[in-house]
């Protein structure tokens, strides 16, 4: 199966292998026709009305503003209204360096967003710390705090690159399954347990296992 989005042809994307592999994996598990169609409908809806959450900390935010302005006009793709409240947004496009002081705020904002939620790490700083990697108070990649769906390099990335990243996100959304298993969701869970375990700092492996189980029960 091919993942189709409205804005760009499949062969125009540079890295199709991973998404083909993802589709294969999902298809291998099989799904009910009714549930599958429902999934498709939901995914069509979400992927064409992605609302961003304004989260610009530095330079990338200016390029993101250009994306919203007349020449690039992201409204054409449905990435329309930048929301100022995390409760109304679908994805968070983290534009700019995240420092130690900002890290808890970013994590909290991410947790405040409603499911399904996605994260784009926009710019070198959010991917890996970028030019500030050696600093004493810069987080080396936001994936240390929150899970990331699309990595977008550049310092700052051009608006065209931002569109590419957003379309990749659309493609990713198109293959996710709400009623079946969702691969990326499992990864997110794992990540959260890892963090929770770190915070508690258990003294023995048994205790760690216990804490993880407890978390599992709480989350269910």
């Amino acid at each position: 199966m091919e993942v189709k989005i409205k804005s760009m042809k499949h062969e125009d994307f540079k890295d199709n292998e991973y998404i083909d592999k993802l589709v294969e994996e999902l298809n291998a598990s099989g799904t009910n026709v009714v549930v599958g169609k429902l999934d498709q409908l939901i995914n069509w809806g979400i992927s064409n009305s992605l609302w961003p959450f304004c989260f610009g900390t530095s330079c990338c935010a200016i390029e993101f503003m250009c994306l919203g302005a007349a020449r690039y006009d992201m409204a054409r793709f449905g990435f329309e209204v930048a929301r100022n409240s995390p409760r109304q947004a679908d994805y968070i496009m983290c534009q700019g360096t995240i420092t130690y002081r900002m890290a808890p705020a970013l994590k909290r904002l991410y947790e405040q967003m409603a499911e399904p939620k996605y994260v784009i790490a926009c710019g070198a700083c959010t991917v890996s710390g970028g030019p500030f990697k050696n600093s004493y108070c810069v987080v080396k990649g936001i994936d240390e705090i929150i899970p990331v769906d699309v990595y977008l390099p550049g310092c700052p990335p051009r608006p065209e690159a931002m569109f590419y990243a957003l379309m990749q996100l659309q493609r990713k959304i198109k293959v996710q399954k709400f009623f079946g298993g969702v691969n990326r969701k499992e990864k997110r869970k794992e990540l959260f347990y890892a963090h929770d375990a770190q915070q508690v700092a258990p003294s023995s492996p048994e205790e760690a296992q216990e804490a993880t189980n407890e978390n599992l029960n709480n989350q269910e």
Partner: protein, 549 residues
């Protein structure tokens, strides 16, 4: 210089002088510093504290003060140091120059120097629970000491000050930022109208703001510390990420400072291209601040107009520098490459378009009744306060200060072009807005003259001077300032004259204009409506990464 030396010698016999540098250097023992500072301000009229730089000289910790006389534009600098590394203490001058309040807090944050008689001794950039003082040379930056925090920071309401009595005994007095009965509203750090990650804690009475406590540091990236482990050409990179809306100008400043230290003569053509880039950057920055100011008052359409014209400027950068933002175009000795063949035509076209559109902007917004009501007479800043708080740039000129570095301390080729310094008198939000609009016209005036000059030079020419491959500076310190789009941007550069092949700066400090601008938020917002907090800060127009560095 000899004049000042004599005068200061009379005021303070303990002072030592060194006039081998660009300005007169006065070294004063800490006990005499406050008396001398009072005399310098009141008798010798050094009323503008241009820069306050903390430095760790290993055997002693200290502060460099750069002072300017706003009448004659003379500058001197003063060094005050202490050998105590366990509990370093110096006397505060925040009662004389109000701008020192935040700057001393910055030095306290970076070096752990406590300032006696400072009203509010708290950290400024780093979290309250941070361990160590990062800019000290012996700082331990192991991640175990300061791990990534995942819990929310607790509001630090406790502060203290050190008070000295007549016998020289220093006692610590604890205090509170906000009293228990005060009603405190939090704005930020993630708030769309703070233009970045800024946080204000405002105490209000009804709808009137009584006090604003600025909590900064949400984008503090430790640029100054990182620069100490990079070679000179590598440090240029970070200047563009400070105030990204005056990227070229900041980079120009550091280039000028290094060239001054090395004694490199830059070709005329290179300096001309640099100046044009500076002015284009200023134009783009003012267009952005127009867009954001209007959007904060609800005029979303005006925001789109501002961005439409900015795209023209981005295209020019794109063609010549190869990038829209963070261009990395200027380098030590000149510019990286010659301009694009269509550069002059593009700039002329851009000038024509913006001149035409400026009329449209005024028609759309400047006379609008909502804009007038929300900006006229709101957020007043007097001329005395502007100098006292070292507010420069458009915000300072709106209060009537003559503070344009292009006129006061001309650099580059600004002597050879004709332009006016826009100075207005009222000091309210409206004037701050109008200064920017008028300054855009001046930018266009400069650009047009530069286009003619560049055309005379021909299509191609020498755009970079002969620069040694390994940049080495003699031991010493230099200070260079330029007019950024938001005020006077300064670079303090200190070199230890290290003979190793890859020399690194001993201390590099960026004196950012926005850092001073944020100091007047409390003053200008006091007794205004909380809704006006947004328009006032938008009209002062600061870029947060420039504050936090």
């Amino acid at each position: 210089m000899a004049d000042f030396q004599e005068q200061i010698g009379n005021l303070c016999p303990e002072a030592q002088f060194d006039d081998s540098g660009e300005f007169l250097l006065v070294t004063v023992p800490d006990e005499k510093w406050h008396d001398l500072a009072t005399a310098l301000k009141n008798e010798m009229h050094f009323d503008y504290l241009t820069a306050l730089v903390g430095v760790d000289w290993k055997e002693e910790l200290g502060v460099m003060y750069y002072l300017t006389n706003t009448d004659t534009q003379d500058m001197i600098h003063v060094k005050v140091a202490t050998t105590d590394r366990e509990q370093p203490r110096l006397h505060s001058v925040s009662d004389l120059w109000a701008v020192a309040n935040f700057q001393e807090r910055e030095v306290y944050d970076f070096y752990g120097i406590e300032f006696i008689n400072h009203p509010d001794m708290r950290r400024f950039f780093l979290r309250n629970d941070w361990v160590g003082y990062p800019l000290r040379k012996d700082y331990d930056d192991s991640p175990e000491k300061n791990p990534i925090p995942l819990d929310d920071e607790q509001n630090e309401d406790n502060t203290y000050r050190l008070v000295e009595d007549e016998n020289g005994n220093v006692t610590r007095i604890d205090g509170k930022v906000f009293e228990d009965e005060e009603y405190v509203i939090n704005v930020g750090p993630q708030h769309p109208s703070t233009h970045g990650v800024m946080r204000y804690r405002t105490s209000i009475e009804g709808e009137l703001v009584k006090k604003v406590d600025v909590v900064s540091g949400y984008i503090h990236r430790g640029i100054e510390k990182m620069c100490e482990s990079l070679t000179y050409p590598q440090t240029l990179l970070y200047t563009e990420r400070l105030d990204y809306m005056s990227a070229h100008i900041n980079r120009h400043c550091l280039c000028l400072c290094i060239e001054k230290a090395m004694g490199i003569e830059v070709p005329n053509r290179a300096e001309l291209i640099r100046m044009m880039m500076d002015e284009l950057m200023r134009l783009s920055s003012h267009l952005l601040s127009y867009g954001c100011l209007t959007m904060d008052q609800g005029a979303t359409t005006a925001f789109f107009y501002g961005f439409r014209e900015r795209e023209l400027i981005y295209d020019i950068f794109d063609k010549t520098c190869g990038a829209r933002m963070s261009m990395s175009y200027m380098t030590i000795g000149g510019v990286v490459a010659d301009v694009h063949p269509e550069f002059i035509n593009d700039v002329r076209h851009c000038c024509d378009v913006v001149t035409e559109k400026l009329k449209e902007y005024h028609k759309l917004f400047s006379g609008n009744v909502i804009a007038v009501n929300r900006m006229k007479g709101v957020g007043f800043l007097s001329k005395e306060d502007a100098i006292n708080y070292a507010v420069t740039g458009p915000s300072g000129r709106a209060s009537g200060c003559h503070c344009d570095v292009r006129k006061c301390h001309p650099y580059s080729l600004y002597n050879e072009v004709e332009f006016d310094e826009v100075i207005l008198e009222n000091g309210d939000s409206m004037d701050r807005y109008m200064v920017r609009m008028k300054e855009m016209e001046e930018c266009i005036k400069i650009l047009r003259q530069c286009c003619d000059m560049l055309e005379k030079e021909g299509i191609e020419g020498e755009y970079i001077a002969k620069v040694p491959k390994l940049i080495k500076l003699p031991a010493g310190h230099w200070y260079q300032q330029v007019e950024g789009s938001r005020g006077a941007f300064g670079v303090y550069l200190e070199s230890d004259g290290d003979p190793k092949p890859f020399q690194k700066p001993y201390r590099l400090h960026f004196q950012s204009p926005c850092f001073n601008l944020v100091g007047v938020v409390d003053l200008t917002c006091k007794d205004n409506l909380i809704a006006d907090l947004i328009t006032i800060t938008a009209s002062i127009d600061f870029v947060i990464p420039d504050i936090d560095r």
